[in-house]
């Protein structure tokens, strides 16, 4: 772990700090949130934030039903994080496996996989997600499945290209010549060499899922209304944007900050894996005889 700390730059620190706050909110939501996110209090509905003329009871104000905005934002981080992690893990798994098979074995397998990628890429993602959610109904699980169905191609394309190059490297041939099984070679030597670039893609995708999930919730096709989510809050607050700016501003900020945080981490990791700027894998600077 120490090398991570040593190599952190401003962007990295900021990214990890934002991620830490979001994770803390998601994990410790019941203790951190001042009120029950679903407790309705119509008497104090549409109360402005504490610094905007409201009371200290609702720091970031309340919505139409008198629900505490801060509490809902804290609980909303759970939806965003869980969706993001599950969707990215799923699509990375599917995409990497298919990309490795296509790249390593080539031939018919490559044709099938890569043409499938072309087909999925030809359909606009948001359209695919909308159709999917309309058919199967809005739920967290369906958001995750829709995302996996569309975004696995990101990993497949990158894994495919990298494996094509790796396969020609002498050490992969040396592994075959040493009598290792194909499974061992793929898992221990090919996959591990792909890990860096794919991890960078995955980090950037995390931010993207959060945006997509919010977008779908905003369109009413994401999470059901009783589950507090950032996108859902935006949708509810939209009608009152003229009278209660805090209903859309704070969830919007939460989305923006989280996405920016993930993108910072992704950028930082890309720099680390890039031989020209980074230092995770020093290039051939070792002394030669």
């Amino acid at each position: 772990m120490s090398w991570i700390l040593r190599r952190l730059d401003a962007k990295g620190i900021l990214g990890f700090a934002i991620l830490a706050v979001v994770v803390l909110c998601a994990v410790a939501a019941p203790w951190l949130s001042p009120l029950d996110p679903n407790a309705q209090d119509l008497a104090s509905a549409i109360a402005p934030p504490a610094f905007g003329g409201g009371t200290a009871e609702h720091w970031l104000g309340t919505d139409r039903l008198g629900q505490d905005v801060l509490s809902r934002i804290i609980y909303g981080s759970r939806v965003s994080l869980v969706t993001a992690l599950a969707a990215v893990a799923g699509s990375a798994l599917v995409g990497t496996v298919l990309g490795m098979i296509a790249g390593y074995f080539g031939g018919f397998a490559a044709t099938v996989v890569m043409r499938l990628v072309d087909i999925v890429l030809a359909v606009p993602f948001i359209l695919l997600a909308l159709v999917f959610m309309t058919v199967f109904g809005p739920s967290l699980l369906n958001v995750i499945i829709a995302f996996i169905a569309a975004r696995w191609t990101q990993y497949t394309r990158i894994a495919y290209g990298l494996v094509l190059e790796l396969r020609e490297r002498e050490f992969i041939q040396a592994c075959v010549a040493a009598g290792l099984t194909t499974t061992d070679i793929l898992l221990r030597h090919v996959l591990v060499n792909l890990a860096g670039p794919l991890l960078v893609v995955a980090t950037l995708e995390l931010g993207f899922v959060i945006l997509i999930e919010s977008g779908l919730s905003f369109l009413g096709l994401g999470t059901p209304p009783e589950v507090p989510s950032w996108g859902g809050m935006l949708q509810e607050g939209r009608a009152l944007i003229n009278v209660a700016w805090w209903l859309t501003t704070f969830p919007g900020l939460a989305i923006m900050l989280t996405v920016v945080g993930f993108n910072f981490i992704g950028d930082w990791m890309r720099d680390q894996f890039d031989p020209r700027t980074g230092s995770v894998r020093p290039t051939e600077i070792g002394s030669r005889d």
Partner: protein
């Protein structure tokens, strides 16, 4: 006198690129045998098929387009009849690779996986073939590094390939090849990518190892000077065929085939007069498949005659080398 049983006996090996009428022969009836505990060198220019021969033995040919179209590769495992590697199934080959036949590659800079420590990469072979635990395999890896002359092997085993110099990497590659004490070591130009001083060290190491393990080495090189240091026997290849073979002393001192003569005449030596011009072999290696009959060397041979359009006979000279050339006199 019963002939000593060969460890590896390659008989009339044929490899082609492509299918059907457009298939081009890359190896055209290659035969040679490696005796136990001896070193056989295969020499030739780029494109003569020497690396292809090594890959065929390991069954690592890029298939398609290349495939073995004929001949046998008999490997003696010491128990029962020799195994024909040309027709062995994938499972048998995988078990054989790394354990009975190991290969040392040309480019030590890329022959190691950059993301694992050296010790792990040596140990991996032992875990796979000898069923060692990871811990035992690592301990053995340290021993192997010491054996191949890597200083302070305990620390070096934990280092990554980029922390090794070229010569040290080639030693690590040799350690991997030696891990299961293979009967046959195939070295495909193992010193070409190294500095001359390091080259000499690595060659000396390989000779030491051979004596210690009594293994056979199939040494592939384009460097006649290296042949003299390493080999017991030499096979000279040109355009996918063996043009001359024999004991190293005979081939180097009295080459019978014009191509071998040309290769040896093009080596600079310290005691030659300074104003003497090195004799290059004229022309370039023709593309494979362009000459398929007669003596393949006739387009570049200084002694080419009309009769060279016919396949030359294989003739053994008094020195003990045999060459395929119309000019060579029978030893009788």
């Amino acid at each position: 006198m019963a002939a000593e049983r060969a460890l590896l006996d390659v008989q009339d090996l044929r490899v082609s690129f492509g299918e059907g009428p457009r298939a081009r022969p890359a190896l055209d009836g290659v035969s040679f045998s490696v005796r136990p505990g001896k070193t056989l060198a295969i020499v030739g220019e780029s494109g003569c098929g020497k690396s292809l021969t090594a890959l065929s033995i390991m069954r690592l040919l890029p298939t398609p387009p290349a495939r073995i179209t004929g001949g046998r590769i008999l490997f003696d495992r010491g128990d029962g009849p020799a195994l024909d590697l040309a027709s062995a199934d994938r499972r048998t080959m995988r078990r054989l690779r790394g354990k009975d036949i190991a290969m040392i590659f040309q480019e030590p800079m890329t022959a190691l996986d950059p993301v694992y420590p050296i010790g792990d990469q040596i140990g991996e072979v032992l875990v796979e073939h000898e069923g060692l635990s990871r811990k035992d395999a690592l301990a053995r890896a340290v021993e192997l590094l010491r054996l191949v002359g890597v200083p302070s092997p305990e620390e070096r085993a934990r280092q990554y390939p980029h922390e090794f110099s070229g010569g040290m990497r080639q030693r690590a590659v040799i350690a991997i090849a030696l891990a299961c004490e293979p009967a046959l070591l195939i070295a495909d130009e193992p010193t070409t990518a190294l500095d001359v001083t390091v080259q000499a060290q690595v060659l000396r190491l390989m000779r030491d190892i051979q004596q210690r393990f009594a293994s056979s080495i199939l040494f592939i090189t384009h460097d006649m000077g290296v042949v003299g240091q390493m080999a017991d026997e030499v096979v000279v290849m040109y355009l996918g065929q063996v043009v001359e073979e024999g004991p190293v002393s005979a081939v180097l001192s009295r080459p019978a085939h014009p191509y071998s003569q040309g290769l040896i005449a093009s080596i600079p030596t310290l005691d030659m007069p300074r104003d003497r011009v090195l004799q290059p072999i004229s022309g370039m290696v023709p593309p494979i498949g362009s000459i398929t009959t007669g003596c393949r060397f006739r387009t570049r041979c200084p002694h080419a005659m009309e009769i060279c359009r016919r396949d030359p006979p294989k003739v053994t000279t008094p020195a003990g080398n045999s060459a395929s050339c119309w000019l060579v006199e029978e030893s009788t």
